[in-house]
Symmetry: C2
Subunit: 358 residues, 2 copies
């Protein structure tokens, strides 16, 4: 794996059975890791967004299953303890389907291996989690190749939040497409929407692009209409936290507004996501649970109080973009075009363990 896959932000240590996560709350100013050895620690890290982004949450959760197994111990009754811990893990955040998907995948790997011992399961799960991590990077690279064909030399691509290496196992979904186009020799520049309240665009997307040497401008979330009206945006690419069976997309709050503006200004908006983000058991966007986070995130900016006391805040973390507003969904299996229902139904499941990662 090449260095600019940026895979080092999620590191699992077999011997200690510990998960080291680059603390994304403090980027770009500090590069510090948080070490998790228990499910309680990992759930907190997920909730506080030490690690975030649907595919990165999925990969972390897969390693988290190994933490849960270690925590359950090898004594009698470990199976019940394990299941209890897995349920705590998958409830950490509600919207990104990759979390539940990863935990369910680990469960199914266990089931399909019959009545194996605690020791055998540990080895199997560590291997599965590592494969899932590798597969995710590989999927992002495939997505990058498919998506890069949609970008032209000279494009200015607006993106929202961070759908980069840090949001995935490595390389990135939306930013992976940009990376792949740049690797093909296309001159691409990026407009990163800062993405309040937690400023993942300013802190993470801008950071990845600067490290990569890809030209990047930062803009406030409210500047999109102005920038599009001036012809400064040629494409929009975002990631996804969950894609429903009809192609409706849950993604970071602001995405649906961006899609409406893109439609108004005739700028195509693309969603880049692996099949692990697709949830065919969710019929439409209306069925996707939307996380409401603490209003304090809105009342503050980077830890400093902005608003007076006595004010409440709305803090929906995601919104739903209707499929009609999405010009294409870029997956590792190819580029889907609307209407999406049939194309989504035809996607193959990711297969991590049976050698598909090679």
């Amino acid at each position: 794996m090449e260095s600019h896959d940026f895979c080092g932000h999620i590191q699992f240590n077999d011997r200690e059975c510990s998960l080291m996560l680059l603390d994304q709350r403090n980027l770009p100013l500090k590069e510090e890791f948080v070490t998790c050895t228990t499910i309680e620690q990992l759930v907190l890290a997920l909730r506080e967004m030490v690690v975030r982004g649907a595919p990165a949450i999925g990969v972390s959760a897969a390693y988290g299953c190994c933490l849960a197994l270690r925590e359950a111990g090898g004594e009698d009754g470990w199976q019940e303890t394990l299941e209890h811990l897995l349920q705590k893990l998958e409830a950490a955040r509600p919207t990104a389907v990759n979390l539940r998907w990863a935990v369910n995948h680990m469960r199914s790997v266990r089931r399909s291996n019959g009545d194996i011992s605690w020791e055998q399961l540990k080895e199997l799960w560590v291997q599965t989690a590592r494969n899932m991590h590798r597969w995710d990077v590989k999927a992002n690279r495939a997505m990058g190749e498919h998506g890069a064909a949609l970008l032209e030399d000279g494009d200015v691509v607006m993106t929202h939040c961070n759908a980069g290496a840090l949001a995935t196992g490595g390389y990135g979904t939306a930013l992976g497409v940009i990376r792949a186009a740049v690797a093909q020799g296309k001159r691409i520049s990026v407009i990163a929407n800062e993405t309040r309240p937690l400023l993942q665009g300013a802190r993470l997307t801008a950071y990845e692009m600067v490290q990569e040497g890809i030209p990047v401008h930062l803009a406030c979330d409210n500047a999109s209409s102005m920038l599009m009206s001036k012809g400064l945006v040629s494409k929009v690419i975002v990631g996804a936290d969950r894609i429903a069976a009809n192609g409706d997309v849950a993604n970071k709050i602001g995405t649906s507004g961006l899609a409406i503006l893109a439609g108004h200004y005739h700028v195509p908006l693309y969603v880049a996501a692996p099949c692990t983000t697709v949830d065919t058991s969710t019929p439409t966007g209306a069925d996707i649970p939307i996380e409401c986070r603490d209003g304090d995130e809105i009342l503050h900016c980077l830890g400093t109080r902005a608003a007076p006391f006595g004010v409440e805040a709305y803090n929906f973390a995601f919104d739903i973009t209707p499929w009609e507003l999405i010009a294409a969904i870029i997956t590792e299996q190819g580029v889907l075009r609307p209407p999406y229902r049939q194309a989504i139904a035809g996607l193959q499941s990711a297969r991590f363990f049976e050698g598909s990662e090679n």
Copy 2:
């Protein structure tokens, strides 16, 4: 004038010929005043947004003319010095037409009084500036009465930036309409968009609403689409920095996007502004100069660095909302409906000095 006109944020002291401005950069956490006695100080205060909002800039500039006159002194050649200072003053910020308008009005008052002495002019201008200040509050109250008729009991009104008492001589334009509706006994609640980069919504609008006891929720600028999609917004009211002859509106960056979203979700968007914000010499929005501010405002949040080094930022302070997206323009002379060209041409000029304020 009633206390909740909040007129005290712009105070002129005749004896000392000084202008005290409530420092809006530090609200709501600190209530401190900046005192200006020279044009250099006032220009800096305007640029750094100690005082902001088109009508408040206009009122401050009118008092500023008195500072300029004092600074020009009464010696030979004061007229040239004065004109030089007035030109510096009117160049402080480019978009809000009220600044240039106020200075031009002071010039015309001088001209229409013939060859008067420095002392006479000083008295005349202080009186004119005070009248302009009083007129502005009165205009806002009239605007409030006209606009309140558009609001219904139970409405949830989204507003952007701060078009309140602090943005005007007092009482407010958009927030004045809300105040007037509440005074009529209508139950109105407010959603204040925080309005990056300087967070006037979080810091100033929320502060005014809390002081007034009007229920207010804060939201990130990127949440508007989500909130509208959930039916949580029944009306949008914003202020204006300049209104062109055809009804196109320059207002805080984000307004045009909000107008497109409001159109998409069938939520009416109203603009509230006095006739001093209308510039019939600007044919359309495309002719309005848009201020570009320092990118550092975007790279930071409340003084803390958000973005990595090596990133540039777009910082257009305003955008243009096409007249077609505006359901009505609320002025002190009544509610205008699209198309606006004829209605705008029919507006009467504000007349401050000749007793019209009484």
